[in-house]
């Protein structure tokens, strides 16, 4: 019995990081990445753009994703001007198609289109991107822990890898220690890593299907002095979705 207890204690002491070992930047970003990469999801969201002049534009869209964000379909419901427009992204948004219902045309877009603003908002298609971008395109370094938006957070610096295919040279990310939700992300200019461009703030975090989910995301554009608020109206995780949903045929429906 004594022997077993000693062995047990040894195992506990030898298990790395179980008690006192700090997580590294790479481990934290992996946990953030795992949080985002659910098998499939459905959401309905409302996007409100507040322009420099204070005017508002509101869009409502539905989106479906599968294979940990590798496949994405977004369809606009409101306003009438864009109703029926849809975007299909496959292979982690390396392949993008856009459907325009007025002309019944599907246009294949190159990946540079990810840099374009989504319906004139402060989010680019890239910001909405999924998959492994934080891991694939950036290397991360842990900075001094900080309190942010009332949460105890890990602070990370993500620097673009030499072969990283993103429009930001650097990100600073505050990750809530309790649930690994990135509560604030600062985006820095593509060429100048000291030039702060945008800040994304996540709030109203709720547990949906056991996954901590920010129901509200605000993107503040420092350059244009404008901001866009994204509010989740509905969210479901791990809903069964057929692969056929992510085809040009479905895009036109």
């Amino acid at each position: 019995m004594k022997k077993t207890m000693i062995l047990g204690l040894l195992v506990l002491l030898m298990t790395p990081g179980l008690f006192s070992q700090e997580l590294t930047g790479e481990e934290i970003i992996q946990k953030v990445n795992d949080l985002f990469n659910f098998d499939s999801s459905y959401s309905k969201s409302k996007m409100t753009i507040v322009t420099t002049s204070g005017q508002k534009r509101t869009f409502i869209s539905e989106s479906w994703s599968k294979n940990k964000g590798e496949k994405n379909l977004v369809r606009y419901l409101e306003p009438r001007r864009v109703k029926g427009q849809a975007v299909l992204m496959l292979n982690n948004a390396d392949d993008i198609w856009m459907y325009f219902p007025r002309t019944q045309r599907v246009r294949k877009l190159a990946s540079h289109a990810k840099k374009q603003k989504m319906q004139g908002s402060d989010f680019s298609y890239e910001d909405m991107g999924s998959g492994d971008a934080f891991i694939k395109d950036f290397s991360s370094k842990k900075l001094e822990d900080e309190k942010m938006e009332g949460h105890d957070c890990y602070k990370l610096e993500l620097s673009r890898k030499p072969d990283g295919d993103v429009s930001y040279s650097r990100l600073i990310m505050w990750v809530i220690k309790e649930n690994f939700v990135p509560v604030v992300i600062d985006y820095y200019d593509e060429d100048d890593p000291t030039l702060w461009q945008k800040r994304m703030v996540e709030s109203d975090i709720r547990i949906i299907d056991s996954i901590p989910t920010a129901m509200k995301i605000v993107m503040i554009n420092k350059n244009d002095n404008s901001q866009t608020e994204m509010e989740l109206l509905e969210m479901k995780y791990n809903t069964p979705l057929d692969d056929k949903m992510f085809t040009e045929r479905e895009l036109k429906k």
Binding site: S53, P79, R80, R81, K83, D95, K108, A110, K115
Partner: protein
């Protein structure tokens, strides 16, 4: 006036049972437009108002009905004398006494643009009725599209519906076979299309075979029976391919079609294009178009060439052209752009500055100027008039 009111009433009555059903969506837009051009020493203006009413109903899980009705009124200068825009050489070809026929009237009209039923099953989609047909990957020119010709000044404007029966059969999630039949007075004159679409790596591609009767007119002969210029229908057979994808970070697309004509000379069309979005959000696009039906020497453009171009029977009369488009979001609500269309074969070009402003969620303003810089006789000659257009569109 009475006629239009009756048409409206008829339409409303016929729609009312549909509207009464659950799930019938009614939407559309109202568009008011002013178009003006400086011609010689005059500035002529044409105003138009368009109401487009769309209906869509998911009758059951597999059946969709959709339709739209257009009602358009014109005001201002509603009779344009085409000869005012043509070079002297072409005008000289007009047969004596026929000058009065070269007038383009803008008459109020209302019509059912699209009305179709779509049956969607796991194995196929079948669409029957008047429907839009969009073929090809080109932005301004589509060699594969024998059904529509885009306006180079406004290439994204919606195209009219065509009466057709279309069958799309998906083969897995990547490939699709499409057959289309657009009936005319007999089988021979009807349009037939067979298309195979798919994807290889990051490239979409399509292979197409099309047969269609092309309705040219001879603009030197008038047919008093039909009260129109003499129709010269001719069978056209086309084999073509298109692709779109990405190369070295640039968006790229290409489209090619070879046309076998029953009577006149065979010809081919080719489009190659590329685009890119810079980090500062500026978007740049270049498209090259070759049409061997077009001529390499502008002094060979004749009256029929000009008339077929202006009547959108023919995509180009100049053999080689380049379209360059640059756009930048000046604010969240305002996009400014500039198109340049350059006729490589005759060294003429047009500049088209554009503006797109979102006035509210469902109201947008679109405007462009059209400035031609070519000398007389060339495709973008100053004689074609310098002008512009302002369009306000309200969606409901």
């Amino acid at each position: 006036m009475k006629k239009w009111i009756s048409a409206w009433l008829c339409m409303l009555f016929s729609l009312s049972p549909l509207i009464a059903q659950d799930g019938v969506e009614i939407f559309g837009y109202f568009e008011s437009q002013i178009m003006g051009t400086k011609l010689n020493n005059d500035f002529i203006q044409l105003y138009s108002n368009k109401l487009r009413l769309d209906l869509k109903s998911n009758i059951s899980k597999n059946i969709t009905f959709a339709a739209n009705f257009n009602y358009i009124t014109y005001h201002g200068k509603t009779n344009w004398n085409i000869l005012d825009f043509l070079p002297q050489d072409a005008v000289a070809e007009v047969p004596p006494g026929m000058e009065a026929f070269y007038v383009l009237p803008f008459e109020n009209r209302h019509f059912l643009d699209n009305a179709f039923i779509k049956l969607s099953f796991k194995q196929f989609d079948l669409t029957v009725g008047k429907q839009q047909i969009s073929l090809g990957t080109g932005y301004v020119w589509n060699p594969l599209d024998v059904f529509n010709i885009k306006d180079v000044l406004d290439p994204t404007y919606e195209q009219p519906g065509h009466n057709a029966i279309r069958l799309d059969v998906p083969l897995g999630s990547i490939y699709t076979v499409t057959t289309l039949f657009s009936p005319e007075d007999n089988w021979e004159n009807s349009a037939k299309l067979l298309q195979f679409k798919g994807r290889i790596s990051h490239f979409d591609f399509s292979l197409n075979a099309i047969e269609k009767t092309w309705c040219f007119h001879d603009y030197k002969q008038f047919d008093f029976e039909s009260m129109n210029f003499l129709e010269m229908p001719e069978r056209r057979r086309l084999l073509g391919a298109s692709t779109a994808g990405e190369l070295f970070g640039l968006g790229v697309w290409a489209e090619y079609a070879y046309n076998w004509m029953k009577i006149s000379e065979d010809f081919y069309e080719l489009v190659v294009g590329t685009d890119y979005t810079f980090d500062f959000q500026t978007y740049l696009m270049i498209e090259y178009y070759r049409n061997t039906l077009g001529k390499t020497d502008y002094t060979q453009y004749n009256l029929n060439d000009w008339m077929r171009l202006l009547a959108t029977e023919q995509k180009a009369i100049s053999r080689d052209q380049v379209y360059l488009f640059i756009q930048h979001p000046a604010t969240d609500l305002l996009n400014i752009g500039l198109s340049t269309i350059y006729g490589l074969s005759d060294n003429s070009f047009a500049l088209v500055p554009t503006l797109n402003y979102s006035l509210s969620d469902n109201v947008e303003i679109f405007a462009y100027l059209n400035l031609n810089f070519g000398s007389e006789g060339k495709v973008y000659s100053r004689k074609m008039g310098n002008g512009g257009l302002i369009r306000v569109r309200v969606y409901f």
